[in-house]
C-alpha cells in the first residue's frame, strides 16, 4: 500500500490537467479491469463486469494549485487559485509546473494584511530575469502545484501534498486489485476537476448511469490541539460518510458500508462534516437520483502541502470497499 500511495502521490495533476496522474493509474489498474477509457473531461473510467448492481466508484485525481494569469516585466508570475488554496498555507512554499520548472509562492509586502485571503497579492518567483525570460519556461494559463514530497512520520502516518485525493485513488486502486469474481458491475471512475466543483464526476455519472454511487476521498479531523470541532480522527479507521455540505448519504448505503467494514474486520468511524464536499454530491443528483455514500480517509491539514493520513486507515478503507463490492 505504501509503494502504491507513493507512486500516485508523485504525479503532477491540478484540476483540468490530470494527464500524468491518469497515466500512472492506468498502468496500475490495467491488468485488473475489463475495460478502460478516458472521456472528454479527462475522467478515467474502468469497468469490471458483473451481473449485479452497477456501482460507480469515484476518486478524484486532481489536486489544488495555482494558475498563471499574468507575468510582469520583472518576470514574476501573477496567479489565481485553482480550487481551495489557503493563502496562509502557501506563502514561501515551493511549487512545480508540469514541465518540471520550480518556483516559490510569495506575497507583496507593501500594504499587505495577514488577514487578507485573496490571491491578488500572491506571485510565483521562478528566478526569471524579466518577462521574456519567464515566458521561455511558463505560459499564461499554466498551472503549478505544491512540490511533491512524501515523508513518513511515526505510527504509519504519511505526510505529503496531494494526499487529497491521491489517498482516495490509492484506496480505489487497492480495491480493484483485491476484488476478483465480483458479483456486481463495478465502474471505477478516477475523476477530473473535483476541486473546482465536482465537474468530472457530474459528467461521468450521467454516462455511467449507476444504481449506487460511492466516492473515495479524504476528510477533515478534529484530533489536533484546539482543532476543528469534528468527531473524526486519524488512526481511528476508515470514515463512513453520513453527510457533508454536498450530500446527505443514503441511509441504506451508510448501513451497507458499515456492515461491509464489520464483515472485513476493518476499523471504521462515522464522518459528519459541515463544510466540504465530494464527488458523491454530484453523483447522487444524477438523472433521477442515485443512492450514494462515501468512504473517507481521515486527514490532518487538508489543502496544505503537508496533508497527513494513516496507512492503517487507508488499508481499512481498501478492505471495507472490497467487502462492499462483493456483497450481493
Amino acid at each position: 500500500m505504501k509503494e502504491l500511495l507513493e507512486k500516485v502521490l508523485a504525479a503532477y495533476g491540478p484540476s483540468g490537467h490530470e494527464d500524468k496522474v491518469r497515466a500512472v493509474i492506468e498502468g496500475l489498474i490495467r491488468p485488473y479491469v475489463d475495460e478502460l477509457r478516458t472521456d472528454a473531461l479527462g475522467n478515467l473510467i474502468a469497468r469490471k463486469h458483473g451481473a449485479g448492481k452497477r456501482i460507480m466508484l469515484a476518486a478524484h485525481m486532481d489536486q489544488i494549485g495555482f494558475i498563471v494569469t499574468d507575468v510582469d516585466k520583472h518576470g514574476f508570475l501573477r496567479v489565481h487559485n485553482v480550487g481551495g488554496i489557503y493563502r496562509r498555507n502557501s506563502l514561501n512554499r515551493r511549487v512545480v509546473f508540469e514541465n518540471g520548472m520550480s518556483g516559490v509562492v510569495s506575497c507583496e509586502v507593501e500594504g499587505d494584511s495577514p488577514t487578507d485571503t485573496t490571491m491578488l497579492k500572491l506571485f510565483i518567483d521562478i528566478g526569471a530575469a524579466d518577462r521574456a525570460d519567464a515566458l521561455s519556461q511558463v505560459a499564461l494559463g499554466d498551472m503549478a502545484v505544491y512540490a511533491p514530497e512524501c515523508t513518513h512520520l511515526m505510527n504509519r502516518c504519511v505526510c505529503a501534498p496531494a494526499m487529497d485525493n491521491r489517498a482516495g485513488c490509492a484506496l480505489l486502486i487497492g480495491a480493484l486489485q483485491a476484488v476478483t469474481n465480483c458479483p456486481n458491475e463495478v465502474v471505477a471512475v478516477f475523476t477530473s476537476q473535483e476541486e473546482v466543483g465536482l465537474r468530472g464526476a457530474r459528467a461521468a455519472a450521467y454516462d455511467v448511469d449507476p444504481d449506487v454511487g460511492i466516492a473515495l476521498d479524504v476528510t477533515l479531523v478534529g484530533d489536533t490541539p484546539k482543532g476543528e470541532r469534528l468527531p473524526m480522527k486519524i488512526g481511528g479507521g476508515i470514515a463512513i460518510k453520513v453527510m457533508d455540505s454536498s450530500v446527505i448519504c443514503a441511509g441504506e448505503v451508510v448501513a451497507a458500508l458499515e456492515a461491509a467494514a464489520e464483515d472485513a474486520g476493518a476499523a471504521h468511524q462515522r464522518e459528519i462534516l459541515f463544510g466540504g464536499g465530494t464527488d458523491a454530491g454530484a453523483i447522487h443528483q444524477t438523472r433521477s437520483g442515485v443512492p450514494s455514500g462515501a468512504l473517507s480517509i481521515p486527514s490532518r491539514y487538508v489543502h496544505s502541502a503537508c496533508e497527513v493520513i494513516s496507512l492503517d486507515d487507508l488499508e481499512a478503507g481498501v478492505k471495507t470497499l472490497a467487502a462492499f463490492l462483493m456483497r450481493g
Partner: protein
Amino acid sequence: MELSELTQLNGVSGNEQAVRAAILREAAQCCDRTRVDKMGNLLAFKAGTRPGSGHVLLLSHMDEVGLMALGVTDEGLIAYDPVGGIDPRVLVSKRVTVGEKGIPGVIGAKAIHLQTREERATPLTHRDLSVDIGAKDKASAEQLVKPGDYIALAGDYLAFGEGFVRAKALDDRVGCYNLLRLMRERFTCDVTYAFTVQEEVGLRGAGVVARQVDAARCALILEGTTANDLGHVPEHLQVTRAGAGVALSFMDRTTIAHPGLLRALKACAQREGIAWQFKQFVAGGNDAGAVQGAKGPLAVASLSVPCRYIHSPSSVCSLMDVEAQYALARAFLMEGAAFESEERG
C-alpha cells in the same frame, strides 16, 4: 441582422421573446431546422456538407441584465429588484424602459445638494433607488405597472472613437450577432446554433440545451466578457483589453477550458492572423459551465469579446474584437473543428 438592431431589442432574463423572434426570423431562413424548447431556448440546426464530420454546438445567450418591478411606492415610484448582476452605483440617473408597453422611466436618487456628508460617503443600494415613470400618484402608476413587469436598461447604439461601439446588452448580443453571421455558411461538420435564455441569472438555459443535442464533439461559447483596461488598474488585474482581439479563457469560475480545444483555437488564430488574447483573470462564468457535464462530458471553450463597463447601459467594445470572434469561430469550423483529445477507449 446588425449589432445595432440586436442591442436595441430588450430581453431581460426570462423575457427574451423579442430577441428570440428576431433571431428566429433569420435562423429559419438559413438553417435546416429550428426549434424553441420549453424554456425558450432557440436551437437552429444546419447539417454539414460531409456526413460523419461530427457535430459542433455553438452557444450565445439572448438575455441581458435588467430589473423587475416589485410594486409602486406611495409616491408613485416603482420599486425594483435587479435581474442578474448589476452594480447599483451604475444605475443612478439612467434611463430605463418599463413593461411590455415600453414606458420610459428614469432611476432617481437624491440630488447632491440635499445629501448629508454621510450619505455622500455611502454608496446607494438597490433598496435606496426606484424608477420614476412620471406618474402623478400611486394609483396612476399602478394603472401602468404591475409587480413582475420587466424593466430594461435603455442605452442607444453608437459607433464612436477609433472603431469602438457603445450600447446596452453587448453582453451577449455580440455573440448572437456572430452566430447569425456564421449560420449563413455551411461547414463540413453539422452545427447546432443555440441561443440560450437566462444565462445572467445562473446559466439556467444552457444545460437544457445540451441535453437536447445529440453527440456534439465540442461546444464553443461566444460571449461578451469583462475588460478592465482602465488607466489606474495594474496590468495583472485588467482581465482583458478592448481592441486587443478575441479573448480565450483558460479558466473562469465555471470551467477550465479543454486543453486540446484551447490549443487548437490558439493555433487556428495564429495561422489565420486573427488577433487574440487570454482572459487573464479567473472570474465570471458562462454557459460553458452548464453544458460541459449536462449530458455526459463535453469539451468546451469560450471566445469572448472584451466589454468595458459591462452590465451597464453604456457598455463599450471594439468592432475589431467582434470581427476577431467571428473570424476565429469561422476558421475553426472551416478547418473541420479539429482538436486533440485525451478521449479514447
